[in-house]
């Protein structure tokens, strides 16, 4: 309890701090991947001040008094974004007491809001940040109904550069697992979902009757219906998890029927309906490594999936699918590289972990590109960001230089020389 209060204080204090401190920074001599029509600028400079990019261009002179960072010809990109994690919610996957992704015994589901459980002090965050990932979607997991609840967007910044945007999207499972939750079959999950949508509309239009207990019964409690109003009004995207072609076709039909902002999650067989997804404007969050018939709903899983979707003009965000990978979010750039190996153009792979997530999650105004007016979420790389030999040499989140150490680098340094470590009477740094 005490800790929670302290956190609130810290957050508000740090917000003031950002505004107070101002020193322009210029990253010079970089190969700037702008993720915009400006393309790649060699010998480029990015200047930012007060956490916001003020100028990007070739050979710009740093403003007077600016701190200068020499990229030494290295690649400069926006901070990377993983579109599906449990960052800040799950510390040790097998230990339920360290896991805030799901609330199996709660009386509600769609209203479940992960943002209250996010812990900015999670050791997983610095481990991930070291690899150039500066923001993430952190998501709920289904338990009681097909609705998992509301995800949040977070920054991976330390101190004042950490932030949470609650209610970034509603997650719902329409795959086989969702069918089992709904009662045992797809015929139940979809009927349930459609009835909930009707209930939400009914509730919104009959709030007074509801409060007087004069309204008809609904399948979900009031708090869930309330949480779903932004979804039916198109203000909050509905992330629908589905893998099988027939399920994806249902997703497309549903999105059209209810005029919702839908994002397809998983989509192992999405390549089979790529033109339909493109026409419906439904983006896909995918793992480009998916190529196994792990179940009867992913028989068509293929390394071709992501490249084909992109070719068909479907927006694809590459994500580590946190759950399956436990804490291995730092593999995000490897995933993008694997997509390139299988035919995704390099720039599109980089976009799939920067610009496309910005678009999908409604963050384009301040993230997803290196251009004037965007948040200064910037990574300077020692080489190709998608290769194993490369690491960030500097990471900025909202203009703040980030610490690039972690609990893991401390362990590494302690055991660097096992014969002498840790010495007797070891004093932690």
């Amino acid at each position: 309890m005490k800790k929670w209060t302290a956190l609130l204080v810290l957050l508000s204090a740090s917000a003031l701090l950002t505004a107070a401190r101002a020193e322009p920074v210029a990253v010079i001599n970089g190969e700037i991947h702008t993720m915009r029509p400006a393309g790649v600028i060699k010998g480029g400079t990015v200047i930012f001040d007060n956490g916001v990019i003020t100028a990007v261009g070739a050979g710009l002179a740093p403003p007077a008094g600016a701190k200068v960072i020499d990229a030494k010809g290295g690649i400069v990109t926006p901070g990377l974004m993983d579109s599906l994690t449990f960052l800040g919610l799950r510390e040790v996957s097998a230990e339920q007491t360290t896991d805030d992704t799901t609330a199996a015994k709660a009386e509600f589901s769609a209203a479940f809001d992960v943002s209250y459980g996010i812990n900015p002090d999670s050791a997983v965050i610095p481990v991930t940040r070291m690899h150039g990932i500066t923001r993430a979607i952190t998501a709920p997991v289904t338990s009681k109904t097909v609705f998992a609840g509301q995800a949040a967007a977070i920054s991976l910044g330390e101190g004042s550069s950490f932030w949470v945007r609650p209610g970034i999207a509603m997650f719902v499972s329409l795959d086989g697992a969702g069918a089992r939750i709904a009662g045992g079959a797809r015929g139940a999950s979809w009927v349930f979902l459609r009835e909930v949508m009707n209930d939400v509309q009914f509730y919104r239009d009959n709030r007074k009757a509801f409060d007087k207990a004069e309204a008809r019964a609904t399948v979900l409690p009031r708090v869930d219906l309330e949480a779903l109003i932004p979804v039916i009004e198109g203000r909050m995207p509905l992330v629908m998890e589905a893998y099988r072609e027939s399920d994806i076709r249902q997703v497309i039909a549903f999105a059209g029927a209810y005029k919702l902002r839908v994002i397809l999650l998983g989509g192992a067989e999405a390549w089979k309906v790529a033109p339909e997804l493109a026409r419906a404007g439904i983006p896909v969050i995918a793992d480009p490594r998916d190529n196994l018939p792990t179940s009867f709903e992913t028989l068509g899983a293929s390394l071709d999936n992501v490249p084909r979707l992109q070719k068909a003009n479907v927006k694809v965000a590459i994500a580590t699918m946190g759950g399956a990978l436990d804490q291995r979010y730092r593999s995000l750039r490897q995933f993008a590289g694997i997509a390139v190996a299988n035919g995704l153009p390099y720039d599109e792979a980089l976009a799939a972990i920067t610009r496309v997530p910005a678009e999908i999650w409604g963050m384009s105004a301040n993230y997803g590109a290196l251009e004037k007016g965007k948040d200064a979420d910037i990574v300077v790389w020692s080489g190709d960001p998608l290769e194993f030999t490369s690491m960030p040499t500097a990471v900025f989140i909202r203009g703040q230089a980030q610490d690039l150490t972690s609990r893991q680098t401390e362990l590494r340094d302690r055991y660097r020389d096992v014969k002498n470590a840790p010495p007797t009477g070891y004093v932690p740094r």
Partner: protein, 479 residues
Amino acid sequence: MRKWILSGGLCAALAVPAIAAEKAPAPNLKDPYPSTYKAPAAPVTAITGAALFTGAGAYYPSATIVMADGKILAVGPDVTPPAGAQIIDGRGKVVTPGIIDVHSHLGDYAVPSVNANDDGNEATNPNTAQVWAEHSVWPQDPAFVRALAGGVTVMQILPGSANLFGGRSVTIKNVWSRTVQGMKFPGAPYGLKMACGENPKRVYGGKGSSPSTRMGNFAGYRSAWIAAQNYREEWDKYEAKKNAPLKSGGPESGKKEEENKPPKRDLQLETLAGALRGEILIHMHCYRADEMAQVIDMSKEFGYHVTAFHHAVEAYKVGDLLAKEGICASMWADWWGFKMESLDGIEENIPLVHAAGACAMIHSDDNVGNQRLNQDVARSVAAGRRMGLKISDAEAWTWLTLNPAKALGIDAKTGSLVNGKMADVVVWDRDPFSVYARAEKVYIDGALAYDLHDPKRQFRSDFELGYAPPAANQGEHAP
């Protein structure tokens, strides 16, 4: 349908005994499920002008390798292909040994992951040393060909880690076969899967039985080893008597022979005694450094050797100990944080163990991870260099090939590109430590088992027929 089965059964019942009565084989106790794998016929093949990692620590910027009769005939920078050899232009390519995945569950946790395919953990008793993984392996697991596309030519398939003693492992070549016997690596020793830590105590503690703690785990191991020691002694006595020279003539010698009855056979103790004798190699799932040290003491208490610790997330904390005891560590590049015993995983684990002079290996334990073990090693060696360790790519290739071969007891036959070894060879389209690399050709015993650019050389499992589109697993070839 039913009728057909009945009549079919009847036929068999009639036919079999007649044959069996006349040709009943002698009991086959030594190797009851023998390998039937035979290297397929293949033309003499030479890959010329490719960069080449031997897998034993050497690198040639340009070399030629010649494969004949399933074996490596010649390898090196100055090799001239024999007349009539099929020539593969290797310029711009990189040649390596086939990758050996020392920890796999392909076939015993086959896809699709439906209940019927859940054959990896006989989680009914903490000691199931009597089970053999090969009796669970489904040769039609569609994951085999995907591992092949990742350059994996040999793998050890283990039982799961629910039990203190999980059972015997099997080492296979990654070839399409109707039977497991047709995949079994000829002459490979068996392994025994054991498990430390959280899994056994969770599985059995959760059922209200022992073990429910780590000390319960150790009591379970030690009791079983004591029983195995007794069993071994009984059999040793029997064998010694049986092989003792007969006393000349007389009724006494005949009587003595009658008394020397073989002890009752016990499948569980047979495996454990085999491990004590060193005939079966011990592969122990163990994350924490302190547990590894305890297990090493236990191995001395009972006089056996641990071949390898698997998962070994904390091996970097005891690299010196592993080096001293001659124990390999089988590790991931980046798995951590999924349970308490994996919380201290670091990216530098493999390079630190290597730098300590111990036998370091990559492993997958996963049907996705095994498709890119080369990338896992690339990530590890890069992390090692960033912390200042001087490890070449050529050295790092030993983590993928020669060291796993050693841990499986097959290093005299495969694991490096030297004359006379099995021609298990991968041709990569570029530096295999690049994220963009793909295996273009994979040879097993000199025969082309996989070709990235030829769908006919990408076998499909029976399961996939009519379900998955041809070559759905591959880039660029799907319809």
